[in-house]
C-alpha cells in the first residue's frame, strides 16, 4: 500500500472516530478544525501505544473513561493568569467604566478551561469595586477542567510570570494578596469565586442561557471551522444585550464572519467588540 492510500485510510479512520463519538455519546466534533483533531487524536494513539485510530475508536465505544480522556485531549488547556495582559488592561480602562453603569452585571466566560482567566477577571472586578455586583458564568465542555477551576488551586511554578502579567495588566495591589502559598501550590482566595457559577456547557449544541453584558471567549474559536465559528458567534450575539461586549483571542477576528455587521470593533489589537445598539 502506498503512502497516499495510507493517508486516505487514516483520514477515514478519523472521520469514523468523530462519527462514533457523536453517535455513542452525543459530542459533535465534526466542525472542529481537522488538522487539530488529527494531531490530538494521533497523539493519544501514540501515548496509549495503539496501532491506529480504529483501535482507539473501539476502546472509546466500550469505555466512557476513554471518551473523557479524548475530550481532555481535544480541548487545549493552556492558559495563565492575566494571559496577554494588554487585554485585561484594555478591559480595565475601556470596558469597566461601561460596566459600572449597570446595576447588575452578567459575565460569561465561555471555554474557561482551568479557570485562570476567571480568577484574573474576579481580581480585576474586585479592584474596581464591581465584584459584588456581578454574576460570572464560567463554562466549559469538560467537567474535569471545571473541577480544577472550582478549587482555585494552582501550581506555584508560574507565579512569577503571573505576577508580571498582573502588573502589566494594571493591577493595583500586590498579586500575592490574592493567594496563599502552601508547599508548591497557590491557593486563591475563595472569596474571588463567590459569585462565579461553573457550568458544563457545550458551545456546539447547547443554547444561550443568559443576557450577558460581557462575554469572554479567547482562543477557543481557532479550534472550530468557519461554519462552527459562525454558529458559535451567533450564539454569543444572541446572548449579549445591546451594547454588550465580547472579547476574543488576539489572533481571532469577527471580520469575515456572519456577525461582523452587528458589532463595532472597540480595540483592534486586543479584539474587544461591542454589539451595536438596535441589533
Amino acid at each position: 500500500m502506498n503512502e497516499i492510500e495510507l493517508l486516505e485510510i487514516e483520514n477515514l479512520e478519523l472521520q469514523l472516530l468523530i462519527e462514533a463519538i457523536y453517535l455513542r455519546y452525543g459530542y459533535d466534533f465534526k466542525n472542529y478544525t481537522k488538522s487539530h483533531l488529527k494531531r490530538r487524536i494521533l497523539r493519544r494513539v501514540k501515548l496509549d501505544d495503539l496501532k491506529n485510530i480504529t483501535q482507539l475508536t473501539e476502546k472509546m465505544l466500550y469505555d466512557r473513561e476513554v471518551l473523557k480522556q479524548i475530550l481532555l485531549d481535544l480541548s487545549i488547556n493552556v492558559t495563565e493568569m492575566f494571559r496577554f495582559p494588554k487585554f485585561f488592561k484594555d478591559l480595565r480602562e475601556d470596558i469597566i467604566p461601561l460596566l459600572k453603569t449597570y446595576p447588575s452585571i452578567n459575565i460569561w466566560h465561555a471555554g474557561c478551561s482551568t479557570g485562570e482567566e476567571v480568577i484574573s477577571m474576579a481580581i480585576l472586578l474586585k479592584e474596581e469595586g464591581l465584584l459584588n455586583r456581578v454574576n460570572i458564568y464560567a463554562t466549559d465542555i469538560n467537567e474535569k477542567v471545571l473541577d480544577i477551576a472550582k478549587e482555585g488551586i494552582y501550581s506555584i511554578e508560574n507565579v512569577k510570570k503571573w505576577t508580571r502579567n498582573y502588573q502589566e495588566a494594571g493591577g493595583k495591589k500586590s498579586f500575592s494578596d490574592y493567594y496563599t502559598a502552601k508547599y508548591d501550590h497557590a491557593i486563591f482566595d475563595q472569596d474571588l469565586l463567590k459569585n462565579v457559577t461553573f457550568l458544563e456547557h457545550n458551545l456546539v449544541i447547547d443554547k444561550t442561557f443568559i443576557d450577558a453584558n460581557l462575554i469572554i471567549c479567547r482562543n477557543v474559536l481557532i479550534y472550530f471551522n468557519k461554519k462552527l465559528q459562525n454558529q458559535v458567534l451567533e450564539l454569543f450575539e444572541e446572548s449579549l444585550i445591546p451594547g454588550g461586549i465580547i472579547g476574543i483571542g488576539s489572533k481571532e477576528s469577527l471580520k469575515f464572519t456572519s456577525v461582523n455587521e452587528k458589532f463595532e470593533n472597540i480595540n483592534s489589537t486586543t479584539k474587544i467588540y461591542k454589539k451595536k445598539i438596535g441589533c
Binding site: E3, L7, T33, K34, H36, R39, V78, I222, N225, Q229
Partner: protein, 190 residues
Amino acid sequence: MKYKAIVIGTSAGGVEALKIVLKDIESTIELPIIIVIHINERSDGFSKVYEGLNRLIIKEAEDKEDIKNGIIYFAPSNYHLSIEDDYRFSLSLEEKVNYSRPSIDILFKSAAEVYTDGLLGIILTGANSDGALGLEKIEKLGGKCIVQDSEEAYFDIMPLSALKHVSTCDIMSLDLINRYIKKLGGKNCE
C-alpha cells in the same frame, strides 16, 4: 513537477537567510510561500523586515484565511500554523513541538497531507531539529525537498537533522534556492 505551494522552515540565522531566498521573486509566481521562522515575538510583524525585497504581498497568516497564490505568509509568533483540506490556514496554541511554537514540523506535516506531490519543502539554517520529521512527511507523500547546504548555513543543526530523515533531497546554497524559486515562474514547473 508542478508545485502548488512552497513551505520554508528556519530558525537561528533565518532572518538573513530569507532575505536571500526571497529576493526578487516575481508576483507572477502562481503559488503561496508559507514560512515558519522561530523568532521572539515582535509587534511590527515580518512585512517590515522584508519590505521591498520582492513584489509579493508579505503578511501574517490568519486563522481560517483562504490561502492565495502570490502571497508570502508568515506564521504568527507563539501560534502553530497548519493547512486545512479546504486550503485555509488554522492556528493553534497546543504545546510546543521541539521547544518551538510555531513548529516547522506542524506546518510541514499538515501541508504535506494537503498538497502531497505538489509541495516544495525547504529547510534553512537553524540551531535545533524542528522540521526534520515534517520534511520526511513531505518526501513520503511525493513532495520535493530542498535543504540548505550545511557548510554554508549559519547554524547547521537544522539542515543536518533534516538530511538524516530524507533520502532524496537537493542540497543547495541560499543563492541557488533563490534562483530555483525564481525559475518556477508563472507555471510553477521545475
